[in-house]
Symmetry: C2
Subunit: 440 residues, 2 copies
């Protein structure tokens, strides 16, 4: 079983910052974040991961702890104070240039000696688009088309220096064998990039490629490129369907299904008894602010809910394929409200703990049981752990659930490899240029 | 006197990697770079700085040690292992988006507790443009026009959170006073950016703004925005003219000339005697490769010199104002060749040690004399130190020249402030939004 910590200074519950255990000053405090990363490493987790958005709204900052360090700068700093745990940064293909992104990840992979991962997103809100010269977020399909071209370029750039290109022969003055350094000469619909990269091949060859979209476009993209997939799944059966679907799509792209690691999000709250855990959850729920929760939900589904009564049902939303923004999350939310006959107010509380990711309030034993069930019943290869409250809650998971998983023989007790790719049991990438070269 | 270390793994001489003291493996080795940064901090230098380019050419990598970590990821990592020294990263306004750049520097400023600086460049080569969807580098004037708009946006984004915007009142659930969080609503020729930034105001308010262009456009840009200026000057009188010119332009923009720190580059080689230093220099010169030197020069001046005889004169180059790329450096090179009646081969050696920055081969005493003269005779407020050879050469400067400058009372013996802005004696920036607010 693989475990990734979805790093959050204060916690994934939207009211975590108001909890007595939370110290709001810690939201951008490096010493605090360093402590969390080192704890996760002591527990032998595969990796830690930072999400990302490219905007803050004035409305949201009124109630929400909206502010955070930029993922690649933070992970570069964390690479110095950790030794084994993987470091996965989210970067959007919609608001960056492929040359810059390829280079930053190669740089992080060098700095961390092979522990870099990239969670590839296309971003989905108008608020973000408006920080990048656009009025509205481009259509879903256009974003994925750009993402695909973006990925093709970065893959070539990471391959543009073969592993043995640098000779540095002081006597002759030859630094690199430049028959092993390649221009990529990409000219496509969205980009033109000559290459080569200005940084030699990194320890992993390229970062671990992670993807989190679960729409049709997203699943195809993931099946083609992703080596690990973060996904929000509310039930075992939904998770099983997703798991089977993505593994089958990967096979269709000629990939081994074992080389695609599926990691549903799990938002735990742990108590000595189930009742204590539920009470902790209720305490967090009481700290939510409906106006803020509604704003978050409206933003997530790209549909303004402010004029609908909180105690009424979710109104009919546009058809999934017509949604420009986050298609799969919107569908999950709609399904959840329908299946459980939730009012908007009830829905807001169901989403408060993890924005649509599965929440569990129970004992460490119960959490371990649930993870074991999903893991052994083809719903997950591991999990994206999102403690609802960080201070206290992360310790509960690492000190109680992880040892229980280890006792059951489900989770490692020591790191056996050095790179992030090693931790997830993934093959080393073949250099596309080297291959060509070899068979010419 | 202020001292900045222009950080280079192996050295600024183009043949440094071939020197017996250089360890080529160290070019992207974090432990090595950490050691250099910590040495500079022990010597109480104001800051260290990383240059940047956005391309590597297949021709250049054959002879040149071309590969390096990306500046912002590397400085983020170095922020963890240093405490006081400033950290200045080069980022181009031509190949990035202002929202991303504002955010990364705010993030580095938080991580380093107020030690971030931005060396603003517009980039000047076709090779770089070709990694960013262009055939040729945009014209000089167009690049500076974009840079100006870019700066205006980042300045507003850094001000978009007032320093006291975050209240985080757990009882009421109010996280921020959003009357102190501002949209910037910029709509200009090159960019449209709504804001606010998604990261709260950083310790320095904004990074130290550094600029290195010495063309007419560059000097105006520097006089308007820059708080520190890196410049290449070959002689005391040239440096004095530049110094007077930029300080006067700053005054024309209503700025105090003391708030613009001028730092010419100095590339030292130090020996126990002058003869020993000259011998060290000759040893490095012997390791140069004319084909590589010529390629570097052609690239720098945007003019292919490969068909001209090495032992003949520099051909007539296009008029400065017609050069799309690096105008001021091209002019410096032309002036140097003319003044000293150099053949191309001689010119290549004059440039090998520091690409046009002033080289000095002499005793520590002689180097200190030269720095003192420039400093006391209105040619410099400090220096950008570029050891021609890092291993050995950086130690020579820090262990011999710095103590000599300290004995003469020219350089600090202890840090007196905490932020980069403190080290350079610069005022804290006023928040443009807060000001408006106050007088409304």
């Amino acid at each position: 079983m693989h475990l990734n910590l979805f790093l959050s200074s204060l916690g994934h519950h939207e009211a975590a910052w108001r909890h007595p255990a939370a110290n709001v000053e810690e939201i951008i405090d490096f010493a605090h974040l360093q402590g969390l990363a080192q704890k996760a490493e002591r527990a032998k987790l595969d990796s830690l991961f930072l999400a990302d958005r490219y905007a803050a709204s004035r409305k949201a900052v009124k109630y929400g702890a909206v502010s955070g360090l930029e993922p690649l700068t933070l992970l570069s700093a964390l690479s110095v104070v950790t030794e084994r745990i993987g470091l996965i940064a989210t970067v959007s293909t919609s608001f960056n240039e492929p040359f810059n992104v390829a280079r930053r990840f190669a740089s992080l992979d060098h700095l961390s000696q092979g522990r870099a991962g990239w969670n590839i997103i296309t971003s989905g809100t108008d608020g973000e688009a408006q920080n990048f010269n656009l009025e509205r977020i481009p259509d879903h399909h256009v974003r994925y088309e750009r993402a695909q071209e973006f990925l093709d370029i970065t893959l070539k750039l990471w391959d543009s220096w073969e592993a043995d290109a640098i000779i540095h022969d002081k006597a002759s003055g030859i630094y690199a064998d430049n028959s092993k350094v390649h221009e990529i000469n990409h000219k496509g619909k969205h980009f033109a990039v000559r290459g080569p990269l200005n940084l030699s091949r990194s320890p992993q060859g390229r970062p671990l490629l992670v993807q989190a979209g679960s729409s049709e476009d997203g699943k195809d993209f993931a099946a083609k490129y992703a080596e690990a997939i973060f996904t929000a799944q509310q039930s075992l059966s939904d998770a099983q369907s997703f798991y089977a679907d993505v593994k089958a799509r990967a096979a269709q792209f000629g990939r081994s299904p074992e080389q695609v690691i599926i990691l549903p999000g799990i938002c735990p709250i742990i108590g000595a008894s189930e009742a204590e855990a539920k009470e902790k959850e209720a305490q967090l729920h009481e700290l939510t602010h409906p106006a803020y929760s509604l704003l978050q939900l409206s933003n997530r589904i790209g549909f303004d809910l402010s004029s609908y009564p909180l105690d009424g049902p979710l109104p009919e939303l546009p058809a999934t394929e017509k949604i420009a923004g986050h298609q799969s999350r919107t569908q999950l939310i709609r399904d959840l409200a329908e299946r459980e006959h939730l009012t908007i107010r009830q829905l807001l509380l169901r989403l408060a703990g993890g924005r649509g990711h599965k929440t569990i309030a129970g004992t460490a034993q119960q959490v371990a049981d649930e993870l074991e069930q999903w893991f052994t019943q083809d719903a997950a290869d591991g999990f994206n752990i999102m403690p609802q409250l960080t201070n206290g809650g992360l310790d509960d998971f690492l000190d109680q659930v992880v040892p229980e998983l280890q006792r059951r023989g489900l989770f490692r007790t020591e790191y056996t490899g050095k790179t992030l790719r090693d931790h997830y049991g993934l093959d080393s990438p073949v250099n596309s240029f080297a291959e060509t070269h070899q068979y010419q």
